[in-house]
Amino acid sequence: MANIKTIEKKSKAQSMGMHTEVLTGRTQQKFFNPDEAENFYYFGTYDVDFNKRTDLDVKDMTAPEANKEIDKLMSEGYGTIVIKNPQGKHSLGVGILNKLNLIFEGSLGYFGMGSCDGPTVRINGRVGWSCAENLMAGKVVIEKNAGSCFGAAIRGGDLICKGSVGARTGIDMKGGTIIIGGDAGAFTGFMMQRGRIIILGDVGINLGDSMYDGTIFVGGKIGSYGSDAVDSELTKSDQDWLKRKLKVAEIGENFNVSKMKKIVAGKKLWNYDNLEPTEKKGAI
Protein backbone atom coordinates (compact mmCIF):
# COMPACT_ATOMS: atom_id res chain seq x y z
CA MET A 1 0.00 0.00 0.00
CA ALA A 2 2.82 2.31 0.94
CA ASN A 3 4.46 1.71 -2.44
CA ILE A 4 1.28 2.57 -4.35
CA LYS A 5 0.99 5.85 -2.47
CA THR A 6 4.60 6.69 -3.18
CA ILE A 7 4.14 6.00 -6.88
CA GLU A 8 0.96 8.11 -6.96
CA LYS A 9 2.71 10.99 -5.28
CA LYS A 10 5.70 10.72 -7.56
CA SER A 11 3.52 10.64 -10.72
CA LYS A 12 1.53 13.63 -9.57
CA ALA A 13 4.66 15.57 -8.74
CA GLN A 14 6.20 14.72 -12.11
CA SER A 15 3.04 15.71 -14.01
CA MET A 16 3.21 19.10 -12.27
CA GLY A 17 6.78 19.46 -13.43
CA MET A 18 8.18 19.50 -9.94
CA HIS A 19 10.85 16.92 -10.60
CA THR A 20 11.93 14.39 -13.15
CA GLU A 21 14.62 12.65 -11.22
CA VAL A 22 14.76 9.93 -8.61
CA LEU A 23 14.74 11.71 -5.26
CA THR A 24 17.82 10.26 -3.64
CA GLY A 25 21.11 11.79 -2.58
CA ARG A 26 22.59 14.65 -4.59
CA THR A 27 20.11 14.19 -7.44
CA GLN A 28 17.56 16.10 -5.36
CA GLN A 29 18.86 19.28 -6.99
CA LYS A 30 16.20 20.72 -9.27
CA PHE A 31 16.40 24.21 -10.64
CA PHE A 32 13.36 26.37 -11.01
CA ASN A 33 12.07 26.60 -14.58
CA PRO A 34 10.16 29.83 -15.38
CA ASP A 35 8.22 28.02 -18.12
CA GLU A 36 6.63 25.88 -15.45
CA ALA A 37 5.65 28.79 -13.19
CA GLU A 38 1.99 28.66 -14.17
CA ASN A 39 1.83 25.12 -12.86
CA PHE A 40 2.52 26.34 -9.35
CA TYR A 41 0.01 27.70 -6.92
CA TYR A 42 1.49 29.62 -4.03
CA PHE A 43 -0.81 28.98 -1.10
CA GLY A 44 -1.57 32.00 1.06
CA THR A 45 -0.28 34.66 -1.36
CA TYR A 46 -2.06 37.61 -2.90
CA ASP A 47 -1.50 40.20 -5.62
CA VAL A 48 -1.07 43.45 -3.72
CA ASP A 49 -0.61 47.07 -4.78
CA PHE A 50 2.12 48.90 -2.83
CA ASN A 51 0.34 52.21 -3.47
CA LYS A 52 -2.79 50.96 -1.73
CA ARG A 53 -2.13 51.85 1.90
CA THR A 54 -4.05 51.45 5.15
CA ASP A 55 -3.57 51.68 8.93
CA LEU A 56 -4.46 48.91 11.36
CA ASP A 57 -4.78 49.59 15.10
CA VAL A 58 -4.15 46.32 16.95
CA LYS A 59 -4.40 47.77 20.47
CA ASP A 60 -7.50 45.76 21.38
CA MET A 61 -6.75 42.71 19.24
CA THR A 62 -5.09 39.44 20.13
CA ALA A 63 -2.16 38.35 17.96
CA PRO A 64 -4.22 35.81 15.95
CA GLU A 65 -6.90 38.45 15.33
CA ALA A 66 -4.30 40.96 14.18
CA ASN A 67 -2.63 38.43 11.87
CA LYS A 68 -5.95 37.43 10.35
CA GLU A 69 -6.75 41.08 9.75
CA ILE A 70 -3.39 41.60 8.00
CA ASP A 71 -4.17 38.57 5.84
CA LYS A 72 -7.62 39.97 5.03
CA LEU A 73 -6.16 43.35 4.05
CA MET A 74 -3.64 41.64 1.75
CA SER A 75 -6.47 39.65 0.16
CA GLU A 76 -8.15 43.01 -0.54
CA GLY A 77 -5.00 44.14 -2.36
CA TYR A 78 -3.43 46.43 0.26
CA GLY A 79 0.31 46.45 -0.34
CA THR A 80 1.31 48.91 2.40
CA ILE A 81 0.00 48.30 5.90
CA VAL A 82 0.89 50.39 8.96
CA ILE A 83 0.33 48.61 12.28
CA LYS A 84 -0.48 50.96 15.17
CA ASN A 85 -0.09 50.12 18.89
CA PRO A 86 1.54 46.67 18.70
CA GLN A 87 2.50 47.21 22.39
CA GLY A 88 4.90 44.29 22.64
CA LYS A 89 2.39 41.63 21.61
CA HIS A 90 3.82 38.25 20.65
CA SER A 91 3.69 36.56 17.24
CA LEU A 92 2.63 39.58 15.20
CA GLY A 93 3.12 39.47 11.43
CA VAL A 94 3.89 35.76 11.23
CA GLY A 95 3.48 33.64 8.10
CA ILE A 96 3.34 36.40 5.46
CA LEU A 97 4.23 34.67 2.21
CA ASN A 98 4.11 37.45 -0.37
CA LYS A 99 5.48 40.88 -1.15
CA LEU A 100 4.17 43.45 1.29
CA ASN A 101 5.31 46.75 2.73
CA LEU A 102 4.62 46.39 6.45
CA ILE A 103 5.39 49.06 9.04
CA PHE A 104 5.01 48.60 12.81
CA GLU A 105 4.64 51.83 14.79
CA GLY A 106 5.93 50.35 18.05
CA SER A 107 7.55 47.31 19.59
CA LEU A 108 6.91 43.59 19.12
CA GLY A 109 7.12 40.76 21.64
CA TYR A 110 8.33 37.24 20.95
CA PHE A 111 8.31 35.53 17.54
CA GLY A 112 7.49 38.67 15.56
CA MET A 113 7.61 38.21 11.75
CA GLY A 114 8.26 34.48 12.10
CA SER A 115 8.19 32.14 9.07
CA CYS A 116 7.81 34.92 6.50
CA ASP A 117 8.70 34.74 2.81
CA GLY A 118 8.93 38.02 0.95
CA PRO A 119 7.68 41.06 2.90
CA THR A 120 9.62 44.25 3.50
CA VAL A 121 9.13 45.18 7.14
CA ARG A 122 10.15 48.17 9.22
CA ILE A 123 9.67 48.02 12.99
CA ASN A 124 9.89 51.42 14.64
CA GLY A 125 10.55 49.93 18.04
CA ARG A 126 12.13 46.94 19.73
CA VAL A 127 11.56 43.23 19.17
CA GLY A 128 11.58 40.37 21.67
CA TRP A 129 13.03 36.87 21.36
CA SER A 130 13.18 34.98 18.07
CA CYS A 131 12.33 37.82 15.71
CA ALA A 132 11.99 36.74 12.05
CA GLU A 133 12.69 33.12 12.91
CA ASN A 134 12.83 30.95 9.78
CA LEU A 135 12.70 33.94 7.41
CA MET A 136 12.87 32.69 3.80
CA ALA A 137 13.09 35.96 1.88
CA GLY A 138 12.39 39.67 2.31
CA LYS A 139 13.83 42.38 4.52
CA VAL A 140 13.12 43.14 8.16
CA VAL A 141 14.54 46.33 9.72
CA ILE A 142 14.38 46.98 13.47
CA GLU A 143 15.03 50.56 14.51
CA LYS A 144 15.83 49.81 18.19
CA ASN A 145 17.14 46.75 20.10
CA ALA A 146 16.30 43.09 19.67
CA GLY A 147 16.09 40.17 22.10
CA SER A 148 17.83 36.80 21.97
CA CYS A 149 17.67 34.25 19.15
CA PHE A 150 17.42 37.07 16.62
CA GLY A 151 17.06 35.54 13.16
CA ALA A 152 17.07 31.96 14.40
CA ALA A 153 17.16 29.42 11.56
CA ILE A 154 16.67 31.98 8.78
CA ARG A 155 17.17 30.65 5.26
CA GLY A 156 17.25 33.87 3.29
CA GLY A 157 16.51 37.58 3.26
CA ASP A 158 18.07 40.48 5.13
CA LEU A 159 17.50 41.00 8.83
CA ILE A 160 18.76 44.30 10.19
CA CYS A 161 18.81 45.55 13.78
CA LYS A 162 20.06 49.10 14.23
CA GLY A 163 20.49 48.67 18.00
CA SER A 164 21.95 45.85 20.07
CA VAL A 165 20.80 42.24 20.22
CA GLY A 166 20.74 39.55 22.91
CA ALA A 167 22.32 36.08 22.89
CA ARG A 168 22.38 33.39 20.18
CA THR A 169 21.80 35.70 17.21
CA GLY A 170 21.60 33.66 14.01
CA ILE A 171 21.44 30.35 15.85
CA ASP A 172 21.10 27.51 13.36
CA MET A 173 20.80 29.94 10.41
CA LYS A 174 20.92 28.34 6.98
CA GLY A 175 21.21 31.38 4.73
CA GLY A 176 20.49 35.09 4.43
CA THR A 177 22.21 38.01 6.09
CA ILE A 178 21.90 39.42 9.60
CA ILE A 179 23.26 42.92 10.24
CA ILE A 180 23.63 44.35 13.76
CA GLY A 181 24.39 48.05 14.22
CA GLY A 182 25.24 47.77 17.92
CA ASP A 183 26.57 44.99 20.14
CA ALA A 184 25.62 41.30 20.18
CA GLY A 185 25.46 38.90 23.13
CA ALA A 186 26.92 35.47 23.83
CA PHE A 187 26.82 32.51 21.42
CA THR A 188 26.27 34.65 18.33
CA GLY A 189 26.18 32.40 15.26
CA PHE A 190 25.75 29.30 17.40
CA MET A 191 25.54 26.23 15.13
CA MET A 192 25.12 28.41 12.04
CA GLN A 193 25.17 26.42 8.85
CA ARG A 194 25.18 29.02 6.10
CA GLY A 195 24.66 32.75 5.57
CA ARG A 196 26.42 35.79 6.92
CA ILE A 197 26.28 37.81 10.13
CA ILE A 198 27.67 41.36 10.32
CA ILE A 199 28.15 42.98 13.74
CA LEU A 200 29.44 46.54 13.81
CA GLY A 201 29.84 46.67 17.60
CA ASP A 202 31.25 44.27 20.18
CA VAL A 203 30.22 40.66 20.52
CA GLY A 204 30.04 38.43 23.62
CA ILE A 205 31.60 35.10 24.49
CA ASN A 206 31.61 31.92 22.39
CA LEU A 207 31.23 33.59 19.00
CA GLY A 208 30.38 31.08 16.27
CA ASP A 209 30.35 28.16 18.66
CA SER A 210 29.91 24.85 16.80
CA MET A 211 29.40 26.65 13.49
CA TYR A 212 29.29 24.34 10.48
CA ASP A 213 29.66 26.92 7.78
CA GLY A 214 28.84 30.55 7.00
CA THR A 215 30.73 33.75 7.79
CA ILE A 216 30.66 36.24 10.66
CA PHE A 217 32.10 39.76 10.33
CA VAL A 218 32.80 41.72 13.53
CA GLY A 219 33.71 45.41 13.77
CA GLY A 220 34.30 45.62 17.54
CA LYS A 221 35.78 43.44 20.26
CA ILE A 222 35.15 39.70 20.52
CA GLY A 223 34.50 38.25 24.00
CA SER A 224 35.82 34.83 23.00
CA TYR A 225 35.70 32.37 20.13
CA GLY A 226 33.52 29.29 20.32
CA SER A 227 34.57 25.80 19.42
CA ASP A 228 35.47 25.46 15.71
CA ALA A 229 35.32 29.22 14.98
CA VAL A 230 38.53 30.63 13.51
CA ASP A 231 39.77 33.86 11.96
CA SER A 232 39.99 34.12 8.20
CA GLU A 233 41.46 36.64 5.78
CA LEU A 234 39.20 39.56 4.90
CA THR A 235 39.44 39.79 1.11
CA LYS A 236 38.79 42.73 -1.20
CA SER A 237 35.68 40.92 -2.38
CA ASP A 238 34.46 40.66 1.25
CA GLN A 239 35.02 44.37 1.78
CA ASP A 240 33.12 45.30 -1.36
CA TRP A 241 30.24 43.07 -0.32
CA LEU A 242 30.21 44.53 3.21
CA LYS A 243 30.16 48.11 1.90
CA ARG A 244 27.32 47.30 -0.46
CA LYS A 245 25.30 45.51 2.21
CA LEU A 246 25.74 48.26 4.80
CA LYS A 247 24.74 50.88 2.27
CA VAL A 248 21.63 49.00 1.19
CA ALA A 249 20.76 48.37 4.84
CA GLU A 250 21.05 52.14 5.57
CA ILE A 251 23.33 51.33 8.46
CA GLY A 252 26.99 52.19 8.97
CA GLU A 253 27.50 53.36 5.42
CA ASN A 254 30.76 55.08 6.38
CA PHE A 255 31.95 52.23 8.58
CA ASN A 256 35.58 51.25 8.02
CA VAL A 257 35.03 47.69 6.83
CA SER A 258 38.74 47.07 6.21
CA LYS A 259 39.29 46.76 9.99
CA MET A 260 36.60 44.13 10.45
CA LYS A 261 37.41 40.60 11.53
CA LYS A 262 36.17 37.65 9.51
CA ILE A 263 35.29 34.46 11.37
CA VAL A 264 34.56 31.14 9.69
CA ALA A 265 34.25 27.47 10.64
CA GLY A 266 37.62 25.84 11.32
CA LYS A 267 36.61 22.45 10.03
CA LYS A 268 34.32 21.39 7.23
CA LEU A 269 31.87 19.45 9.33
CA TRP A 270 29.22 18.91 6.67
CA ASN A 271 28.43 19.52 3.04
CA TYR A 272 26.03 22.33 2.30
CA ASP A 273 26.57 22.62 -1.43
CA ASN A 274 22.89 22.26 -2.30
CA LEU A 275 21.24 25.59 -2.95
CA GLU A 276 18.32 26.80 -0.86
CA PRO A 277 15.01 27.29 -2.75
CA THR A 278 15.32 31.08 -2.60
CA GLU A 279 18.86 30.93 -3.92
CA LYS A 280 17.72 28.75 -6.81
CA LYS A 281 15.34 31.51 -7.87
CA GLY A 282 18.17 34.03 -7.57
CA ALA A 283 20.49 31.89 -9.66
CA ILE A 284 18.29 32.15 -12.74
Binding site: H90, S107, R126, G128, K144, S148, G166, A167, G204, I205
Partner: protein, 314 residues
Protein backbone atom coordinates in the same frame (compact mmCIF):
# COMPACT_ATOMS: atom_id res chain seq x y z
CA UNK B 1 8.82 28.15 32.17
CA UNK B 2 7.85 30.72 34.87
CA UNK B 3 7.75 34.49 34.55
CA UNK B 4 9.30 37.14 36.76
CA UNK B 5 8.63 40.84 37.03
CA UNK B 6 9.87 43.70 39.14
CA UNK B 7 9.79 47.46 39.39
CA UNK B 8 11.32 50.19 41.49
CA UNK B 9 10.18 53.80 41.73
CA UNK B 10 13.03 56.13 42.43
CA UNK B 11 12.29 59.06 44.70
CA UNK B 12 8.57 58.39 45.15
CA UNK B 13 5.98 55.80 46.13
CA UNK B 14 3.31 54.32 43.94
CA UNK B 15 0.57 51.72 43.91
CA UNK B 16 3.07 48.85 43.53
CA UNK B 17 0.53 46.16 44.44
CA UNK B 18 -1.71 47.00 41.53
CA UNK B 19 1.22 47.61 39.16
CA UNK B 20 2.86 44.26 39.93
CA UNK B 21 -0.47 42.49 39.60
CA UNK B 22 -0.80 43.89 36.07
CA UNK B 23 2.74 42.82 35.19
CA UNK B 24 2.34 39.30 36.51
CA UNK B 25 -1.09 38.84 34.98
CA UNK B 26 0.43 39.73 31.59
CA UNK B 27 2.84 36.82 32.16
CA UNK B 28 0.26 34.29 33.26
CA UNK B 29 0.81 32.18 30.12
CA UNK B 30 4.28 31.44 31.53
CA UNK B 31 2.69 29.65 34.47
CA UNK B 32 -0.21 30.02 36.86
CA UNK B 33 0.32 27.16 39.28
CA UNK B 34 1.16 29.79 41.86
CA UNK B 35 1.89 33.49 42.01
CA UNK B 36 3.88 35.44 44.55
CA UNK B 37 4.43 39.07 45.44
CA UNK B 38 7.24 40.66 47.43
CA UNK B 39 5.97 44.16 48.16
CA UNK B 40 8.02 46.88 49.84
CA UNK B 41 5.33 49.06 51.34
CA UNK B 42 5.46 52.45 52.98
CA UNK B 43 5.65 51.87 56.73
CA UNK B 44 6.82 53.84 59.76
CA UNK B 45 9.64 51.31 60.13
CA UNK B 46 9.00 50.74 63.85
CA UNK B 47 7.58 47.23 63.84
CA UNK B 48 8.43 44.05 62.00
CA UNK B 49 5.85 42.59 59.68
CA UNK B 50 5.86 38.81 59.75
CA UNK B 51 3.94 36.96 57.06
CA UNK B 52 3.69 33.27 57.84
CA UNK B 53 1.64 30.23 57.10
CA UNK B 54 0.41 27.51 59.41
CA UNK B 55 -0.65 25.16 56.64
CA UNK B 56 -0.90 24.75 52.90
CA UNK B 57 -3.56 25.68 50.39
CA UNK B 58 -5.05 22.26 49.60
CA UNK B 59 -7.41 23.53 46.91
CA UNK B 60 -7.70 22.25 43.36
CA UNK B 61 -4.34 21.53 41.74
CA UNK B 62 -2.43 21.51 45.00
CA UNK B 63 0.09 18.74 45.67
CA UNK B 64 -0.27 19.18 49.45
CA UNK B 65 -1.90 16.74 51.80
CA UNK B 66 -5.25 17.75 53.28
CA UNK B 67 -5.10 18.54 57.01
CA UNK B 68 -7.74 19.07 59.65
CA UNK B 69 -8.24 22.84 59.85
CA UNK B 70 -8.15 22.65 63.64
CA UNK B 71 -4.37 22.08 63.53
CA UNK B 72 -3.98 25.60 62.08
CA UNK B 73 -5.34 27.08 65.29
CA UNK B 74 -3.12 24.86 67.40
CA UNK B 75 -0.03 25.92 65.43
CA UNK B 76 -0.99 29.57 65.66
CA UNK B 77 -1.38 29.23 69.42
CA UNK B 78 2.15 27.84 69.71
CA UNK B 79 3.51 30.66 67.51
CA UNK B 80 1.87 33.18 69.85
CA UNK B 81 3.41 31.45 72.86
CA UNK B 82 6.89 31.41 71.34
CA UNK B 83 6.63 35.08 70.38
CA UNK B 84 5.70 35.91 73.95
CA UNK B 85 8.64 33.84 75.25
CA UNK B 86 11.05 35.73 72.99
CA UNK B 87 9.70 39.10 74.13
CA UNK B 88 7.98 39.90 70.84
CA UNK B 89 4.74 41.79 71.27
CA UNK B 90 2.01 41.32 68.66
CA UNK B 91 0.79 44.82 67.79
CA UNK B 92 -1.61 43.83 65.02
CA UNK B 93 -2.90 40.51 63.83
CA UNK B 94 -4.60 39.68 60.52
CA UNK B 95 -5.74 36.28 59.34
CA UNK B 96 -6.53 36.57 55.64
CA UNK B 97 -7.09 32.86 55.20
CA UNK B 98 -7.17 29.99 57.70
CA UNK B 99 -3.57 29.05 56.82
CA UNK B 100 -2.15 32.52 56.14
CA UNK B 101 -1.40 35.15 58.76
CA UNK B 102 0.14 38.59 59.03
CA UNK B 103 1.52 39.88 62.32
CA UNK B 104 2.92 43.29 63.13
CA UNK B 105 5.43 42.67 65.89
CA UNK B 106 7.21 44.97 68.26
CA UNK B 107 10.50 43.13 68.65
CA UNK B 108 14.04 44.25 69.28
CA UNK B 109 15.76 41.83 66.94
CA UNK B 110 19.45 41.15 67.37
CA UNK B 111 19.44 38.01 65.29
CA UNK B 112 16.54 36.87 63.18
CA UNK B 113 18.20 33.47 62.72
CA UNK B 114 17.42 32.36 66.26
CA UNK B 115 13.98 33.95 66.08
CA UNK B 116 13.12 32.17 62.82
CA UNK B 117 14.52 28.84 63.93
CA UNK B 118 12.33 28.97 67.03
CA UNK B 119 9.14 29.81 65.12
CA UNK B 120 9.81 27.31 62.36
CA UNK B 121 10.55 24.53 64.82
CA UNK B 122 6.75 24.20 64.97
CA UNK B 123 5.85 21.56 62.35
CA UNK B 124 3.85 23.03 59.46
CA UNK B 125 4.80 26.64 60.23
CA UNK B 126 6.86 28.66 57.76
CA UNK B 127 7.78 32.33 57.86
CA UNK B 128 7.15 33.68 54.37
CA UNK B 129 8.82 36.99 55.12
CA UNK B 130 10.13 39.09 57.94
CA UNK B 131 10.96 42.73 57.59
CA UNK B 132 10.09 46.31 58.36
CA UNK B 133 9.04 47.02 54.79
CA UNK B 134 8.87 43.65 53.01
CA UNK B 135 5.76 41.51 52.81
CA UNK B 136 5.80 38.26 50.81
CA UNK B 137 2.38 37.04 49.72
CA UNK B 138 2.19 33.84 47.70
CA UNK B 139 -0.50 31.34 46.97
CA UNK B 140 -1.86 29.03 44.30
CA UNK B 141 -3.47 30.55 41.21
CA UNK B 142 -2.70 33.38 38.82
CA UNK B 143 -1.76 36.95 39.71
CA UNK B 144 -5.29 38.32 39.78
CA UNK B 145 -6.61 35.47 41.92
CA UNK B 146 -3.87 35.95 44.52
CA UNK B 147 -4.18 39.74 44.40
CA UNK B 148 -7.95 39.56 44.98
CA UNK B 149 -7.60 36.93 47.70
CA UNK B 150 -5.17 39.06 49.72
CA UNK B 151 -6.43 42.54 48.65
CA UNK B 152 -3.03 43.61 47.35
CA UNK B 153 -4.20 46.11 44.76
CA UNK B 154 -4.14 49.00 47.23
CA UNK B 155 -0.62 48.43 48.57
CA UNK B 156 1.50 51.56 48.19
CA UNK B 157 5.28 51.34 48.22
CA UNK B 158 8.53 51.97 46.39
CA UNK B 159 9.40 48.65 44.80
CA UNK B 160 8.24 45.10 44.30
CA UNK B 161 9.17 41.81 42.67
CA UNK B 162 6.92 38.93 41.73
CA UNK B 163 6.74 35.52 40.14
CA UNK B 164 4.25 33.55 38.05
CA UNK B 165 5.15 29.88 38.47
CA UNK B 166 4.86 26.84 36.30
CA UNK B 167 5.82 24.02 38.68
CA UNK B 168 8.45 21.76 37.11
CA UNK B 169 10.89 20.34 39.64
CA UNK B 170 8.88 20.56 42.86
CA UNK B 171 5.28 20.52 44.01
CA UNK B 172 2.33 22.82 43.43
CA UNK B 173 2.24 24.33 46.90
CA UNK B 174 2.92 27.57 48.72
CA UNK B 175 6.25 26.42 50.17
CA UNK B 176 7.66 25.98 46.63
CA UNK B 177 6.17 29.23 45.36
CA UNK B 178 8.28 32.33 44.89
CA UNK B 179 9.34 34.86 46.10
CA UNK B 180 11.65 33.38 48.70
CA UNK B 181 12.59 35.33 51.76
CA UNK B 182 16.37 35.79 52.13
CA UNK B 183 16.30 33.99 55.47
CA UNK B 184 17.33 35.17 58.03
CA UNK B 185 17.85 38.69 56.67
CA UNK B 186 15.20 41.28 57.27
CA UNK B 187 13.62 42.65 54.07
CA UNK B 188 15.46 40.46 51.53
CA UNK B 189 13.52 38.56 48.86
CA UNK B 190 14.30 36.66 45.65
CA UNK B 191 12.45 35.52 42.52
CA UNK B 192 14.00 33.29 39.89
CA UNK B 193 13.35 31.93 36.42
CA UNK B 194 15.46 28.95 35.37
CA UNK B 195 17.04 25.77 36.68
CA UNK B 196 19.99 25.30 39.01
CA UNK B 197 21.98 22.15 38.41
CA UNK B 198 24.26 22.15 41.46
CA UNK B 199 21.43 22.59 43.94
CA UNK B 200 22.21 19.66 46.26
CA UNK B 201 25.95 20.36 46.52
CA UNK B 202 25.29 23.97 47.45
CA UNK B 203 22.41 23.07 49.74
CA UNK B 204 24.51 20.61 51.75
CA UNK B 205 27.30 23.14 52.14
CA UNK B 206 24.90 25.89 53.24
CA UNK B 207 23.01 23.63 55.65
CA UNK B 208 26.33 22.81 57.27
CA UNK B 209 26.71 26.54 57.90
CA UNK B 210 23.35 26.66 59.71
CA UNK B 211 21.13 27.93 56.88
CA UNK B 212 17.65 26.44 56.46
CA UNK B 213 15.71 25.24 53.42
CA UNK B 214 11.94 24.94 53.59
CA UNK B 215 11.30 23.41 50.17
CA UNK B 216 13.07 21.37 47.53
CA UNK B 217 12.65 24.15 44.99
CA UNK B 218 16.02 25.01 43.43
CA UNK B 219 15.15 28.71 43.41
CA UNK B 220 15.23 28.83 47.20
CA UNK B 221 18.96 28.20 46.93
CA UNK B 222 19.54 31.67 45.44
CA UNK B 223 17.94 33.41 48.41
CA UNK B 224 19.91 31.31 50.89
CA UNK B 225 23.15 31.58 48.89
CA UNK B 226 23.04 35.37 48.77
CA UNK B 227 21.92 35.61 52.39
CA UNK B 228 24.95 33.52 53.41
CA UNK B 229 27.28 35.75 51.38
CA UNK B 230 25.81 38.79 53.10
CA UNK B 231 26.29 37.12 56.48
CA UNK B 232 29.95 36.74 55.56
CA UNK B 233 30.15 40.48 54.93
CA UNK B 234 29.51 40.83 51.20
CA UNK B 235 27.29 43.58 49.84
CA UNK B 236 24.18 42.64 47.89
CA UNK B 237 25.92 43.35 44.59
CA UNK B 238 29.00 41.36 45.58
CA UNK B 239 26.82 38.42 46.64
CA UNK B 240 25.01 38.50 43.32
CA UNK B 241 28.22 38.64 41.30
CA UNK B 242 29.58 35.73 43.31
CA UNK B 243 26.43 33.73 42.56
CA UNK B 244 27.22 33.80 38.83
CA UNK B 245 30.23 31.61 39.58
CA UNK B 246 28.83 29.60 42.49
CA UNK B 247 25.50 28.67 40.92
CA UNK B 248 25.45 26.35 37.95
CA UNK B 249 22.62 26.22 35.45
CA UNK B 250 20.50 28.72 33.58
CA UNK B 251 18.86 31.53 35.46
CA UNK B 252 17.67 35.07 35.61
CA UNK B 253 16.78 36.33 39.05
CA UNK B 254 15.84 39.46 40.97
CA UNK B 255 16.79 40.30 44.54
CA UNK B 256 15.18 43.09 46.51
CA UNK B 257 16.15 44.66 49.82
CA UNK B 258 14.60 47.45 51.84
CA UNK B 259 16.00 50.14 49.57
CA UNK B 260 17.23 48.41 46.42
CA UNK B 261 16.41 46.08 43.58
CA UNK B 262 18.89 43.97 41.63
CA UNK B 263 18.97 41.60 38.67
CA UNK B 264 21.44 38.93 37.59
CA UNK B 265 21.64 36.89 34.43
CA UNK B 266 23.69 33.73 34.03
CA UNK B 267 26.64 33.46 31.64
CA UNK B 268 24.63 31.41 29.12
CA UNK B 269 21.94 34.13 28.88
CA UNK B 270 19.46 31.32 28.40
CA UNK B 271 16.58 32.88 30.29
CA UNK B 272 14.79 35.98 29.05
CA UNK B 273 14.72 39.42 30.60
CA UNK B 274 13.60 42.74 29.19
CA UNK B 275 14.56 45.92 30.98
CA UNK B 276 13.30 49.50 30.99
CA UNK B 277 15.35 52.07 32.84
CA UNK B 278 14.73 55.76 33.51
CA UNK B 279 15.54 58.25 36.28
CA UNK B 280 12.08 57.75 37.81
CA UNK B 281 11.34 54.10 37.22
CA UNK B 282 13.02 50.77 36.46
CA UNK B 283 10.69 48.02 35.28
CA UNK B 284 11.70 44.57 34.13
CA UNK B 285 10.13 41.29 33.28
CA UNK B 286 10.49 38.04 31.39
CA UNK B 287 8.62 39.59 28.49
CA UNK B 288 8.01 43.11 27.29
CA UNK B 289 4.25 42.79 27.70
CA UNK B 290 4.81 42.81 31.46
CA UNK B 291 6.43 46.24 31.24
CA UNK B 292 3.73 47.41 28.83
CA UNK B 293 1.09 46.88 31.49
CA UNK B 294 2.75 49.70 33.46
CA UNK B 295 4.04 51.78 30.54
CA UNK B 296 1.72 51.39 27.54
CA UNK B 297 3.40 54.21 25.61
CA UNK B 298 6.34 53.61 23.29
CA UNK B 299 9.51 53.17 25.35
CA UNK B 300 13.10 52.03 24.88
CA UNK B 301 13.80 48.61 26.36
CA UNK B 302 16.69 46.18 26.04
CA UNK B 303 17.87 42.69 26.97
CA UNK B 304 20.69 42.66 29.55
CA UNK B 305 23.69 40.65 28.34
CA UNK B 306 25.05 37.38 29.72
CA UNK B 307 26.65 37.54 33.15
CA UNK B 308 25.23 40.99 33.84
CA UNK B 309 24.43 42.19 37.35
CA UNK B 310 22.65 45.47 38.03
CA UNK B 311 21.41 47.07 41.24
CA UNK B 312 19.19 50.14 41.59
CA UNK B 313 18.34 52.11 44.71
CA UNK B 314 15.07 53.91 45.54
Amino acid sequence: MCGIAGLIHRGKSSNVGSELQGMLQALKHRGEDSTGYALYGDTDGKNFVMRFKVGENVGEGSSSVMEDVSVYDERKKIVDEYLSEMGAKIVKEERTLPYSLRYEIDYDAKDLLEFSQKIESIPGVEILSMGKSLEVIKDLGNAKMVCDRYSLDKVVGTHAIGHARMATESGVDIKSAHPFWGYPFSDVSVVHNGQLTNYWNNRRALENKGMRFMSECDSELIAVYIAQKMREGASLEEGMKDSLLGLDGVFTYFVATKDSLGMAKDTMAAKPLVLYESDELVAMGSEEIAIRSVLPQEIDTYDPFDGEVKVWRI
